[in-house]
């Protein structure tokens, strides 16, 4: 059997008495975009935090490139090739754009060719030219969309093999969401990186991903190819908001 890039098995996560993830399993193969959809509080962010070691699962396993991640420090995952773009962008507002970007390779500084990473900085500027123009500005002065680009760029300079994206469309204008998803596809094609995308914007996420999982109250309820899921009546009703789910008076429930 070939090992997947990322394999999450029977993962359970508890916050005190509250079970946030209940026997969740998922796989991400090399160079693949996988989406995890779900409503607020479904456990999407908890899942990503468990993968990157910010929270410790109570049961189950996470393997990355065949290695068990359960005993690995969160701060050493960047050097293993996992880059996590957190929800809400979280750029360092009083640091300059360039300082933010350079911090992306902080964790991998010693373990890889520095020249490689320098050229990555240029590639990030090529992907997001606006960041190059604003590299001396404080990151807090950027617009929401630009901050999202910076957060993604900061993750890319570590040359990851897996990119975890937590709600990249959150709080952005529709036209900017369009742009960000265009960039995600471009990054996937040009940088040959696998992406695990967590989204509430199901329509956009299904379009970008090849496969998707649906998380409801901490449980994986549906999984399959994006094309199948987009046709699934339950998914259409609950996440794509098309037909089905209206009452007699035509009011959505």
């Amino acid at each position: 059997m070939m090992t997947s890039l990322l394999e999450v098995k029977d993962l359970c996560l508890d916050y005190g008495a509250v079970r946030a993830l209940n026997h969740v399993s998922l796989k991400v193969e090399e160079n693949e975009i996988v989406a995890v959809l779900g409503a607020n509080g479904a456990g999407k962010t908890s899942l990503l935090k468990a993968i990157s070691g910010l929270v410790r699962p109570s049961e189950g396993s996470i393997h990355f490139k065949g290695d068990d991640l359960s005993r690995i420090q969160a701060c050493s995952l960047a050097s293993r090739g996992i880059a996590h773009v957190p929800e809400g962008r979280r750029v360092f507002s009083t640091l300059s754009v360039r300082e933010n970007l350079l911090l992306g390779k902080y964790g991998v500084r010693n373990s890889r060719e520095k020249a490689d990473l320098d050229s990555l900085e240029e590639r990030v500027y090529a992907l997001f030219p606006i960041l190059k123009d604003r590299r001396r500005q404080l990151a807090g002065t950027l617009s929401g969309g630009e901050q999202q680009m910076l957060a993604i760029g900061r993750a890319l300079v570590s040359s990851p093999s897996l990119l975890l994206l937590d709600e990249p469309s959150l709080g952005l204008a529709p036209i900017i969401v369009q742009e960000i998803f265009g960039l995600i596809k471009k990054i996937h094609e040009e940088e040959k990186v696998a992406i695990l995308l967590v989204e509430q914007n199901a329509r956009k996420a299904l379009k970008a991903a090849s496969r998707a999982y649906i998380l409801e109250l901490g449980k994986m309820v549906v999984s399959g190819s994006s094309a199948d899921l987009a046709q699934d009546p339950r998914v259409r009703a609950a996440y794509l908001g098309t037909k089905a789910c209206r009452d007699r008076n035509g009011i959505p429930t």
Binding site: L77, A78, S93, L95, E99, L103, Y106, G140, L142
Partner: protein, 311 residues
């Protein structure tokens, strides 16, 4: 005095140099408050007493059995070596304070931390008293360089010039590390958002170790220089210096490194000028009136918060 313009100017400059010297002690201590606050959002009340610990360790090294240091390495070599040992031991004490008094109570929230910090301050102060006694100690004249000379017409002591030189060199070094190095960027990032810093591969434990070693290390050296400058040290000196340096930290903008340095120097100069021209007995009153005024009119301090956070 008012009829002699030249004399008036030279008195002013003398007060200014005195103020800068005292201000550089405040600045070095303020750096420790500010760095720890920046990363931990904690006011390390034990910091002033670590400053006092530095003064006493320096006193023992220069006068005690190890007084041979100065004899064998010469006055300056011995002094430099003493400063190095003081910095190292107070840095170690700072790290121990974090391990013993703060780390176990992180999960219990900020109030517990503040209480623990106050407890640590009292503990260190009493430990110093238990070891060195409650009577003030005096640095013997033999270990203090006493040369006086005139620099561009300003009467200064060699000790003053040395203290100013070392303080400014230390401040420049800290500024370069924090603002220009990649580790400094990691420290600032961890101060803003620990979780995201961790995701980028920054080991926050190393950052915490760094601020709790460097801040007290600087404070210890400031304590030693303070002892050499005034010649007399007392076990409770950390309280007053801690409060003044804390005021300087607020004045510059807490959590802001250049702000701490600027705040310390301004505070020293203001205090010294007011003491010289208005009343020496009231100088502490002026300092704390200044603190109240900052808190009312510019609570973020002179250099605090360069940008508004975007939400």
């Amino acid at each position: 005095m008012f009829f002699d313009k030249g004399r008036k100017v030279s008195t002013f400059i003398e007060q200014l140099v005195n103020g800068l010297t005292v201000g550089s002690f405040y600045a070095l201590v303020a750096l420790g408050y500010s760095m720890v606050y920046g990363v931990m959002k904690l006011i390390n009340f034990a910091h002033g007493d670590l400053f006092a610990l530095g003064a006493y360790l320096g006193y023992s090294l220069l006068t005690g059995a190890t007084g041979k240091i100065t004899a064998s390495m010469g006055l300056w070599g011995g002094m430099a070596f003493t400063a190095f040992l003081v910095a190292l031991s107070v840095a170690l004490a700072g790290v121990l304070v974090e391990r013993i008094a703060y780390r176990p109570v992180y999960p219990s929230g900020r109030l517990s931390l503040v209480v623990s910090a106050l407890g640590m301050a009292i503990f260190i102060q009493n430990a110093v008293m238990a070891i060195w006694g409650s009577r003030p100690r005096a640095f013997p004249a033999s270990v203090v360089p006493s040369l006086r000379f005139s620099l561009f017409g300003i009467p200064v002591t060699l000790l003053q010039v040395t203290i100013l030189g070392i303080s400014f060199a230390l401040m420049l070094a800290i500024w370069l590390i924090v603002e220009k190095s990649s580790f400094g960027a990691a420290v600032r990032a961890a101060a803003l958002d620990r979780e995201t810093a961790t995701l980028l591969g920054i080991d926050v434990r190393k950052v915490i170790f760094f601020v709790f070693a460097l801040g007290p290390g600087l404070g210890g050296v400031a304590g030693l220089m303070n002892g050499l400058y005034y010649r007399a040290i007392s076990f409770n000196m950390g309280w007053n210096y801690g409060l003044k340096a804390f005021t300087a930290t607020i004045l510059g903008g807490i959590g802001n490194i250049p702000g701490a340095m600027l705040g310390g120097l301004i505070l020293g100069v203001v205090e010294s000028l007011l003491a010289g021209y208005v009343s020496g007995a009231w100088k502490d009153v002026f300092v704390f009136i200044l603190l109240i005024a900052i808190l009312i009119f510019r609570p973020r301090g002179l250099l605090g918060e360069k940008t508004a956070e975007k939400v």
